[in-house]
């Protein structure tokens, strides 16, 4: 594959595949492994064709053991590789929780900085795909609350490529959350794009009347809400966080200062979701600037529902717009 840039329309799944491909091509220390990432190309085909092109030494299947997928990634990072490990679904990353929280997040500290954890753990997350139990969860709070990790999530194909390449290039452990319901989202992108900074948020749509803060799967929902609002003469600003840990407060504050009204939305439960952290911090630091309390739109305090009901539980444009109205009518 040439390095000259080309503009093409790709899905997010393909953009991630290209990011992995280009990282494997440009850095011989990059390895990809996990369950079914080999011949199958992953259950979402994100690693499609990579084993064929780069060989079974650099792209390989592992046994069904997430704790040790993470644990061996740590060992390979100490050996100087840049492992990109895949967890097949959100809930199936939980077996690796101890390795990620107690070792990967703390190894740089434990070794006095001698052993940076230059690895990425890719996790498809979120719902809205009609799946059975444990295939639709949003575990970002678990990881973002854990100091020592970086947590990133793209909302579109272009960011997917840029953020994944930046995550792989970063010397610290990055939990890379892939909004699985958006794998099939298409966009025209110019690739290879220069790596994104992994810690910068993005104004997805500029507006003046209120800010909707979203990330991952919810950004396109927020943009749809903004379209509707526009047709009603309301100019919503949509902010795509992209990085969940750290949060790009500068961009968040700038937008909040401008619109003075903020709604935060995510698929995860509201209780202890990222919306709480953002709302708490904004209302604290901009107590006199905000003209209305920060609204949160997320899931209720229940396990993810059976898929037949998921659309009723997932935040949608209507609920976002209702929240916007609450901030404007306040």
């Amino acid at each position: 594959m040439a390095t000259a840039t080309t503009t093409t329309t790709v899905t997010m799944g393909k953009a991630l595949n290209l990011a992995l491909h280009d990282s494997l091509r440009d850095d011989s220390r990059v390895l990809i492994f996990g369950e079914d990432v080999g011949k199958l190309g992953g259950v979402f085909r994100v690693t499609d064709g990579l084993q064929d092109e780069f060989g079974a030494e650099r792209v390989f299947n592992t046994p069904l053991a997430e704790a040790t997928i993470a644990g061996t990634a740590l060992g390979l990072a100490v050996k100087g590789f840049h492992p990109v490990a895949e967890m097949q679904f959100d809930a199936f990353s939980y077996p690796s929780f101890q390795q990620v929280t107690s070792n990967i997040a703390k190894y740089h500290t434990r070794t006095g900085g001698a052993c940076p954890m230059s690895l990425v753990i890719r996790i498809p997350y979120g719902g809205n795909i009609g799946a059975i139990e444990q295939h639709s969860e949003s575990p970002e709070t678990y990881y973002a609350h854990t100091a020592g990790l970086k947590v990133v999530t793209p909302s579109n194909p272009a960011d997917a490529y840029g953020l994944l390449r930046a995550a792989i290039a970063d010397p610290d452990p990055v939990i890379f959350l892939e909004p699985k319901a958006r794998y099939w989202m298409k966009q025209e992108v110019t690739l290879p794009a220069p790596p994104e900074s992994i810690a910068k948020a993005r104004i997805a749509r500029a507006g003046t009347d209120a800010t909707v803060i979203a990330y991952g799967p919810m950004v396109s929902v927020a943009l749809a809400a903004a379209e509707t609002a526009a047709s009603e003469g309301v100019a919503l600003e949509v902010l795509d966080l992209r990085s969940l840990s750290p949060i790009d407060w500068e961009t968040v504050y700038a937008s909040a200062r401008k619109t003075k009204r903020v709604v935060v939305t995510h698929e995860a439960p509201v209780f202890l979701g990222l919306g709480g952290e953002i709302a708490a911090r904004l209302m604290h630091d901009l107590f006199d600037t905000l003209v209305a309390p920060v609204e949160r739109v997320g899931a209720p305090t229940t396990p993810y529902p059976p898929s037949r009901y998921e659309k009723l539980f997932l935040p949608d444009a209507d609920r976002i717009l209702e929240a916007v109205d609450r901030t404007r009518e306040y």
Partner: protein
């Protein structure tokens, strides 16, 4: 703790494992003539095994049809697992418990659970469709391997209650790679829990072949826990029935856990979302198609002179008729009110959740679940 106080070097060698069951099997994992005699499986039981396998395959096929027709979001076929599931489940007493894995549709059928209800899980109507206590059959558990500690804990409880209950738990060969599986095997050995571990080794974990999944042989791991184990031909319902029954008796007698590896092959896709052509060829599968549990049982019945065409036809028509009923039940199944999602979280729900539920319901009306789709 005797070993702790023994004079060094404490050897604590386990005595060569007593494993009379193994002696009843051929190297291929079928019953020897002596084994068949000792097991004493009646013709009636062998016919039951045949009948239930025919029904299982037919209902499984109907599950595939329903998925193709858009009535199910997902289906995970049991094709190739009929002998292990029917043989294993039928060998357990009614009072015994089974902690299945997600593919154990055949076991659920043996236990008398309405298959149309089971399918509502794969239609996305609910996360579980039966009362485990009613059928002594745990829910399908999706996180691989995690049901194994549940079975061991339940079995520890049976022992504490001084019951004559044995517990059967199933899992694929991929599950043996999980930490939970190992921890549970060790717990079972330490607590001498009355549990039978039945590995349905179909040689594939989605696209990962056994050779990239399992170091060594699963059956050989039993000895590492001081436990007996055997590998059985996964297409031989008779052998699986006999061995499981003996292993369950072993457990009930208080002799502790037993590991059975039923060796067969996943003839279908992992689930309807899977595309096996990406990772295996027809040439890989072909030799295993002949390795058919139902044909095997028919042969065994013929050898015993316990076979006739009327019986075969009866099994087929019962299967067809059950398949039709299953389809009706599934299609007729209506979603519960979405507020059920809130009601099922806790036995003793906090006020905060009840308030969330009420707000949810208020917002919902006049929407209906259908529209929620």
């Amino acid at each position: 703790m005797a070993d702790v106080t023994s004079a060094p070097p404490a050897r604590r060698d386990t005595p060569a494992l007593e494993n009379p069951i193994a002696a009843l099997l051929t190297p291929e994992g079928t019953l020897t003539a002596e084994g068949e005699r000792v097991a004493g499986v009646s013709d009636a039981t062998l016919r039951d095994l045949y009948r239930l396998m025919v029904i299982t395959r037919r209902l499984d096929q109907e599950g595939l049809n329903l998925q193709r027709q858009g009535e199910l979001g997902l289906w995970g076929p049991t094709l190739g697992h009929e002998a292990a599931q029917v043989g294993g489940a039928l060998a357990m007493r009614e009072t015994d418990w089974i902690f299945p894995y997600y593919r154990d549709f055949g076991m659920a059928i043996v236990r008398g659970i309405d298959p149309g209800q089971i399918l509502t899980v794969f239609k996305g109507l609910r996360h579980g469709a039966w009362d485990p206590h009613q059928y002594r059959f745990g829910p399908f558990v999706i996180p691989v391997g995690t049901q194994v500690p549940h079975a061991v804990g339940f079995a520890m409880g049976c022992k504490l209650d001084h019951e004559q209950t044995a517990v059967l738990t199933c899992f694929g060969e991929g599950a043996t790679s999980t930490g939970d599986w190992h921890e549970a095997m060790n717990f079972a050995g330490v607590f001498k829990a009355p549990v039978v571990f039945l590995c349905q080794n179909n040689q594939w974990a989605i696209s990962v072949p056994m050779s990239e999944q399992v170091a060594g042989r699963i059956v050989d791991r039993a000895a590492g826990y001081g436990l007996p184990g055997v590998r059985v031909d996964g297409a031989d319902a008779l052998a699986i029935y006999a061995v499981t029954q003996m292993a369950a008796d072993h457990a009930r007698r208080g002799d502790g856990p037993y590991l059975i590896e039923a060796f067969s092959y996943r003839l279908g896709p992992h689930t309807t979302s899977d595309d096996p052509t990406r990772y295996r060829t027809e040439a890989d599968v072909m030799p295993w198609r002949a390795h058919d549990p139902i044909a095997r049982a028919a042969d065994q019945l013929r050898k015993r002179g316990a076979w006739d065409d009327a019986f075969e036809r009866a099994c087929q028509s019962e299967a067809d008729e059950r398949a039709a009923r299953m389809r009706q039940t599934l299609i007729a199944a209506t979603p519960d009110h979405p507020s059920t999602v809130f009601d099922l979280v806790y036995a003793n729900p906090p006020q905060t959740l009840i308030a969330e539920r009420d707000a949810f319901v208020a917002e919902l009306a006049p929407e209906t679940p259908q529209e929620g789709r």
